[in-house]
Symmetry: C2
Subunit: 475 residues, 2 copies
């Protein structure tokens, strides 16, 4: 079956191993679909119960008086073969095996059982998600695998993750930045449906504008390259690769039994298919934020404004280390400053150091607009300081925003740098942070992405710019 | 004069250019010493006022009916030579030139004026801090240069910074982590007193246990190497170098007129003198946090606990990328797990993946203690997740702390990873974050350092471990 849309849009779901015990996964998978308002029909299956969560519970899948599109298996590994046989008789299309303890244990008998399961599924034409995974989160249909996922917030990001834990963290973190998901698929060991199928599905899915992947290993490398190449021609694909060194490779083997292989090699090959690789979780989200909020960044020449003194120097260093080009102030811009009567017209640089500008007739907003209008810059960064002087107590986020006039940068991409700190309880109610929180909300409302450091903004800008350059290449 | 203690412990301060205009720097330098409770005598100097901030104001330095140890100059550059001549007659020991617009402007006449000033100072035996800098912050004496610095919180960190802006950010950020300062010196262009003098002073200062430097360029490279080497033999010196690439070097020239030089070369030479280099501001603070809170980290073999699934895989990758050694579970530890009846004794790895442990008789606390007690590990990392499931709403930070039993790791260094997110106003009051804030406070109270990511913890651990290894080298 290559009709992925059918696989991922089930009309009815059976939870095998459903339970009334709140500490069991069978309970959690059942209540999750109810809580998220699943729009299809839910059928708990467990011979030990007549009812689960006040719904009729069936002793076995065959007893369900309806077609069953999708089965979630929360039973233990040895029970899976018999359950799959039943699914075959019932013409189930997809089985999501939350069930784990297969090849990832490193134990030969568990790996044998996994192979047996695949053979049964193939015989019946059943597609398998997993094993050893959390399955599907699809807010539009009300499908979820964790009560920590956002409710009723269908978005345009599609996530494919070999780890359920990582999927949860990615979806939650992205949602704090206003990024929501069309689908998130946790797929574990990729015994049957694998990375190629999931990317293919999200590539075709009209609700998905960008694909995020947490990947531990590839089941079909060559096919993946081809699928990826076709996909990146019209949608960005951002990959966070787990298992990059020796210890990570060991961890991947015991997590999803994946062969991590040579990551450097893998990344360089897949980059040729247009994939964007993130080094870590923060970068992964930053890149998605940039694709979502910023217009395409078509070059790497950056104008940096808003900082002062050492902050400006460090901003230059971090942008350059990220691969951006912090060009000197272009001559036409310098002449414009001179025409405007700015006394430091010959001294001011890029990054703009505002500490030299005291008592000058050049506002932050003016400078940001001048940089944005100048055709020598491909993107603008505005560094917001943390308000911390007493006299700033009465300012608010609107004052801050107006001060820098970032909205006027459009259509040029403009990125905001807004500080963040790991503080303890003593600082929870500090007025500074309240202004910062409000500023962040207002930036996103204005469609302006923000980052906690210049370094993170720089890396995200460079990597998205690389993607847009790739897309403009003649194929 | 090499009696640094006298230079940095003035009994009386004159502010030249003092003013009643709240927008002037002369006003800010005067009111700052009052607000921070300066324990010596303050003398405003300005011929235009009879009183400044209700204190008698003197027309010139000579008129002050007292000895003057320390002068803060807030007058404009052309007035400095005459002022210095007066200081000479008054036997002033030190002049802090907040006054800027010298060689950093790139203008030949400004650079000439700077040279003239140095000659006058030398003639009179006056030492100069600056020009183009914020000067001294010393909470024990009540000296400060900004109302954003913490009040009355003398600590054990000494900061030397070529940038006042950076000094403010460093002191504020560190203070959020409970790190306070004995001295912070913003020294700008380093015309007279330079990096060598400041390090020498803090090296001798009994109140200072660790030295932080934001450095743009060196005035005396060879001497600096020697001073540094002597200092690092008994105190850590952490350096954040500004002006590392082409654009940063340009920015440094227009900021403090420093010659950034080849940073790679510089860093490799100074590392031989035991300096610890930070790549960016966050890392800089992380390293200080680690030196302050963690016992000396004597090796790089790390045991990682607390994460699950993909989080564990990524933790392995990030530790390894930082240069730590994520060793496999040692055999004696595996045998201990077997003896305790842990069914996954043969499967569990390092990082410990807690997702495979469900329903097992092995608590987080047990595992952390087992790792800490095992002699194969030099340090332990504990990854705290963000509480996000509904049933965690009623937990609190104490529950969290107890769950991992980190206090029991002592005397082995244990680092906590506590998440942080850049959220907007909608999430300001989320219960999850309140628990996290409280957890952070409790960790610091227990003397346990925390970091927002494994990557940041890993880099800080590796760099401090390198320092301790250096210190143990036979000299």
């Amino acid at each position: 079956m290559s009709n992925y849309s059918e696989i991922f849009n089930p009309q009815s779901i059976a939870v095998v191993g459903a339970s009334n015990n709140p500490n069991s996964s069978g309970y959690r998978f059942t209540i999750c679909q109810m809580d998220y308002g699943y729009q299809g029909r839910i059928y708990p299956v467990n011979p030990r119960y007549a009812e689960v969560l006040r719904m009729p519970c069936y002793a076995c899948i065959k007893d369900i008086p309806d077609t069953v599109d999708y089965v979630i298996s929360a039973v233990s590994a040895p029970l899976v073969p018999a359950m799959l046989e039943e699914c075959g008789q019932k013409k189930v299309k997809v089985v999501h095996l939350f069930t784990g303890r297969f090849s990832e244990t490193g134990r030969p008998e568990a790996a044998n059982l996994e192979r047996e399961i695949l053979a049964i599924a193939k015989r019946h034409g059943i597609r398998i998600i997993g094993p050893n995974c959390m399955g599907l989160y699809k807010p539009r249909l009300g499908i979820s695998f964790s009560d920590a996922m956002p409710h009723e917030t269908t978005g345009t990001l599609g996530l494919i993750s070999q780890s359920g834990q990582a999927a949860e963290e990615i979806v939650r973190t992205a949602s704090l930045m206003g990024l929501n998901f069309s689908n998130a698929i946790s797929y574990g060991n990729a015994l049957d449906l694998n990375e190629c199928d999931y990317v293919q599905y999200l590539s075709e899915d009209p609700d998905t504008e960008m694909i995020l992947m947490y990947l531990e290993g590839l089941r079909e490398g060559r096919r993946f390259f081809d699928v990826l190449k076709k996909t990146t021609a019209h949608k960005p694909v951002i990959i966070l690769k787990g298992g990059r060194g020796e210890s990570g490779t060991r961890a991947v083997a015991s997590h999803t039994a994946s062969m991590a292989g040579s990551t450097l090699m893998l990344e360089s090959i897949l980059a040729q298919a247009g994939a964007v690789f993130a080094d870590n979780m923060e970068e992964f989200i930053d890149i998605a934020v940039t694709f979502h909020y910023a217009p395409p960044i078509k070059g790497i020449r950056v104008g940096v404004s808003g900082g002062a003194g050492g902050t400006s120097v460090l901003a230059a260093d971090q942008c350059e280390a990220a691969g951006l080009d912090v060009i000197p102030i272009p001559n036409d811009l310098r002449q414009e400053l001179k025409r405007r009567g700015v006394s430091v017209w010959d001294w001011i640089g890029n990054p703009v150091d505002y500490s030299i500008r005291e008592n000058e007739d050049l506002s932050y907003a003016d400078m940001v607009e001048i940089l944005a209008k100048n055709q020598n810059f491909d993107l603008i960064m505005v560094v917001f300081g943390e308000p911390h002087h007493e006299h700033q107590k009465n300012t608010n986020a609107d004052d801050y925003l107006r001060q820098y006039s970032m909205e006027n940068c459009k259509p040029k991409p403009a990125l905001a740098i807004v500080p963040e700190r790991s503080t303890g309880l003593d600082h929870y109610d500090d007025w500074n942070w309240k202004i910062i929180y409000e500023l962040r909300s207002k930036l996103l409302s204005a469609g302006i992405p923000y980052y906690p450091t210049v370094k993170r903004a720089g890396v995200a800008a460079k990597k998205t710019a690389d993607y847009w350059r790739y897309r403009n290449l003649p194929s």
